[in-house]
Symmetry: C2
Subunit: 356 residues, 2 copies
């Protein structure tokens, strides 16, 4: 099979550790399925600030643009938290999304049966929960003009939230497409009773909906959605929403599964290119101790196989291996009930590779 290029961005904190295990899994699929991957490392985030003076060096961007997919660990940490805007890891994140045209962030919130007890929700409420949040990623208030000015009452700050029809159309179409491959239910989340961008959003959703007569559509106000996720998580299939609302709701959805150390995400643009990363952060407090959980990053490889390469069989092998290792009772510290029996990052990676 043809050689696939993967840009590997380990990043900060536990990023390098968890990416290391994911790369072992990747290698194993070469052996099992005859795939060929060419991986190249890029600097990004805090470490890029330290070594190159910018969170997103041009060479990293070029590396990503020349690749078929990007595997990202995690970025950020207290070391860079008080930097000026241009020298913050988050600025790199926003930059890479925009530069690579990654307008869509896909966040599956799946419940791992064997981790159900880790959720703060009652098991009977969580039962059957399996949803995906599709978040618009390159528009809205994140990317609109921001500035300070002198107002009538002293200094003021301004953020601007802008959406055009085309930006809404492409993300909404993608969400409908995803819903068609799943439960055929789509919840579009907005604040159309207050915001003009939300009214535009809802108009576009309603205009596109007839193209997908099989998909059952509901409009949910964002405040109500924050409640309904808690009240009836299993009733959601696909949720589509704008950037800021998606940031908040996807984190809420991830947390309620109880499996946040296990969740992966994909950021997609036009075509098959994608950036894949765990939902969890760089966890600077436990970095370097070899105790972090590599599963979300390993599952990000499976997601990459499905969404970018169409390697569904191999993806299934990875997902099954993870499940088997968990079912056999192996746990890293973050998900262990009995912390004294917790295994390390490398041991978890080895077990999963062995189970493939």
């Amino acid at each position: 099979s043809e050689v696939k290029k993967i840009a590997v961005i380990a990043g900060d904190g536990i990023g390098p550790e968890v990416v290391g295990e994911a790369l072992k899994v990747l290698k194993k699929t070469e052996e099992l399925f005859g795939y060929q991957f060419e991986t190249e490392n890029g600097l990004f985030g805090g470490i890029a600030i330290d070594e190159k003076g910018t969170p997103l060096p041009q060479e990293t961007l070029d590396l990503c643009k020349g690749a078929d997919a990007v595997l990202l660990g995690a970025v950020g940490g207290p070391k860079w938290d008080n930097n000026s805007k241009e020298l913050r890891p988050e600025t790199g994140l926003l930059g890479i999304r925009k530069e690579l045209g990654l307008f869509s962030n896909i966040r599956p919130a799946t419940v791992f049966d064997c981790l159900k007890e880790a959720s703060t929700l009652k098991p009977e409420v969580l039962e059957g929960t399996d949803l995906i949040v599709v978040r618009e990623l390159t528009g809205g208030i994140y990317f609109g003009e921001k500035f300070r000015r002198e107002g009538a009452n002293g200094e003021e700050a301004v953020d601007t939230c802008v959406y055009n029809v085309q930006e809404v159309e492409r993300i909404v179409r993608q969400a409908f497409d995803i819903a068609m491959t799943r439960g055929k239910r789509l919840a579009s989340v907005d604040k159309a009773n207050v915001l003009e961008t939300s009214r535009l959003w809802r108009e576009v959703v309603n205009r596109i909906a007839p193209e997908y007569p099989e998909v059952e559509l509901e409009h949910v106000l964002v405040d109500n959605c924050a409640m309904q996720l808690l009240r009836r998580p299993s009733s959601f299939d696909v949720i589509v929403t704008e950037n800021m609302f998606g940031d908040i709701l996807s984190d809420e959805a991830a947390m309620l599964t109880g499996s946040i150390g296990m969740l992966s995400s994909a950021s997609l643009g036009e075509g098959s290119f994608g950036l894949y990363e765990p939902v969890h952060g760089s966890a600077p407090d436990i970095a370097g101790q070899g105790i972090s959980n590599p599963i979300a990053t390993i599952l990000s490889v499976a997601l990459m196989f499905r969404l970018t390469f169409g390697y569904h069989e191999a993806a299934q092998v990875i997902e099954d291996a993870v499940k088997n290792v968990l079912d056999a009772g192996h746990r890293t510290g973050d998900i262990a009930v009995d912390k004294s029996k917790a295994i390390g990052t490398i041991e978890m990676g080895d077990l999963i590779v062995a189970a493939m």
Copy 2:
């Protein structure tokens, strides 16, 4: 004692029913404590659209401005959902907040022991949860310029989020003051890693914090807060945040208590004037059936007594009466485990009055 003027806005859906019971409680305190209340009804929301052609008639505004406090039921319903902006109940809500200068929305999220099982959270997680969300109510993206325009890629919509220093200062001071009367912990929620308004917000919080050396302050990013509310609700005391974030987080916080039919809220400005209302909506689906739960509105009267009139003893009597009636096992349909034993709105109101 002097006569207190209360503007009563029953509104739509179950609004009139639940307000009716709250007024019985109010009357009872006249009898028990010798208070004198002068109540006058105003049209607002959907019913005002139908009868006066606007959600917020000038005479209602004048009535409120001439009163010491406002008691509001609920507004809105599907009947008006597709109206143009000027003819929507929500527009009236935003208008009344702005016109009355109600810059602060106080939403206690309390867990009623006897209703703990109604929450979807595990009881041991909920244990000890007792928090207040202080939401900025007259600024931010709700009130900034909104418009459509032709952009390079076709039609686009714009919302503007603006905060000035003074707007942030007054709400943050109030939140610190409230924290001083409670657990002395304040979580300030923003998205300072992305938004300019959030950076201004955080600067102001940090500038004011030294005035309250006893209050333990934490800054929490909004996405993280949506997670932490689920993970460790009992660790929060007072949460202060801007308008849009407050809308989402206060609803999430309310829902996780399992007691949403029981929660009241206050909207305050400078001075002692306030508008009091239940957190729940107008529930058009059950309106007119006499089965709605009046407790949140009754507790809104208690909140009015505490925050506007300083009638703490009477407030306690109301709150205790509610507790006693619940402890005796009486439930309206929304909170009844055995729905066949549910009592009606009026019966619940009568029981609470009798228990006072």
